[in-house]
């Protein structure tokens, strides 16, 4: 098995200890951090995503793979950044559940899958007021904002948040995209409130965001 295949395997199997020593070994042998990430780790994550979509892997396994990816990125990110390679991270997302809504789980799954797919995700929590979304966008300058609502009674807060984001002018240059989701949220509703994207489930969400950003 090649080093790249071994790296990929640690991700698929969720081998946190294994991945750290293997990434270190690859770097010690002179491999470029971005090669380790793209050809080794990310290719493992792609297998995980596909298996999850096919009901061959399940949420706890995907979580473990995502955690494994996290610990590999802890080693790689400083190296990539020092080489000005942060563009290799596929995108930056600010993510939260809208005001009045305390549902956490769907959002956590979104966080997990986007991280696993190479995005940097800033989770700003639950019950997030429109103004707090605006502040987080100001601070982190993401290219994607994800918001979740699990109740029909909190869907209006989604509308207000989109309005607040536009009120602050963040979508003027077309660089920031808003994606919405959550059990009661439909594509129709997403269009109505002028969100850019809609994900029916977590895999759909990753897919439409990647499409929008022209990744893969």
């Amino acid at each position: 098995m090649s080093m790249m295949e071994e790296l990929s395997k640690t991700i698929i199997e969720g081998d946190i200890d294994g991945v750290k020593s293997l990434v270190q070994k690859a770097l010690d042998e002179g491999m470029e951090p971005e090669v380790v990430l793209e050809e080794g780790l990310m290719s493992g994550m792609e297998v995980v995503s596909k298996s999850f979509a096919a009901d061959e892997m399940f949420i706890p396994e995907v979580m473990l793979s995502a955690r494994t990816m996290h610990s590999a990125l802890e080693i790689l990110r400083p190296l990539l950044e020092s080489q000005q390679k942060e563009v290799r991270m596929k995108g930056k997302m600010v993510l939260g559940t809208v005001e009045g809504d305390i549902h956490d789980i769907g959002k956590s799954l979104v966080e997990m899958m986007f991280t696993a797919n190479g995005f940097e995700v800033i989770d700003i929590g639950i019950n997030v007021a429109p103004g707090a979304f605006v502040d987080a966008i100001e601070k982190y300058k993401p290219n994607i904002v994800g918001m979740s609502a699990l109740l029909t009674s909190t869907m209006p807060a989604m509308t207000q948040t989109v309005e607040a984001i536009d009120g602050a002018g963040f979508r003027k240059d077309g660089k920031l995209k808003i994606i919405v989701g959550g059990a009661p949220v439909t594509e129709e509703f997403a269009e109505e409130i002028k969100a850019d994207l809609y994900g029916e489930n977590v895999l759909e969400a990753v897919k439409v965001v990647k499409n929008e950003l022209g990744i893969e």
Partner: protein
Amino acid sequence: MLIIGELINATRKSVREAVINHDSDFIQDLARQQDEAGADYIDVNVATGRGKAEKEVEDMKWAVELIKEVTQKPLTIDTTSIEVLESGLKAFGQGAMLNSISAEEGRLEPFLELARQYDCSVVALPATDKGIPKDVEGRLQVATEILERAEKMGFSKESFYFDPLAFPLGVDDKSGEVTLESLQQFRDKLGVKTTIGLTNISHGLPQRALLNRTYLVLAMGVGLDSALLNPLDKAVMSSVFATRALTGQDPYCGKYLRAFRKGVLVI
């Protein structure tokens, strides 16, 4: 053990369509079938997420009136909106169940005022504006606060069913343990009745029915008083009948034997 039939819920696609198209036959069938299968209460959730908020208020009235035509069973008005709740209770009359209150802003005293007015039992969730506490202690603390605020309004413990709220096991592998322990503590330390929604626990895992059913049995083993479940699922209902008999809730095994004769029991 009180069974709350969960099927009339607009987060299910078929029900959502029936509510949007006002398909009375579909909703009435679901009510009738759950009644016959042994539901003690029939849950009604008409939150389709389509149209304006007033639409849900009208839909609730529509659904409750329809369901009342085909069953004598009391209904559980399932909503987070006070307007929708009032619409449902008004249409039903006295003695329904309210699902649910919590310690979130605006979800306690105003909801309880209506519960008092319409003489409802109440499902209470240990959630605050900060979310659902991850551990048993945190949930017990919020449940205690809810109970104290309700008692201040003159309610007695008997009106309440506390639901500890199960996170999906797939996301939190301690969730089953925390939920079962919370049920026990609610019962022992607060002296209140308990309830659970059955299907959350298994989200994202294969063979969900197996997990749901086993979880139900474990929860009944620590004294569960009520569950929101699919009464048309024969395997689940068989577990209910068997566990009732095994935990001293079925004098002379009468319900178990009747279910057997009706051909309801499956292995």
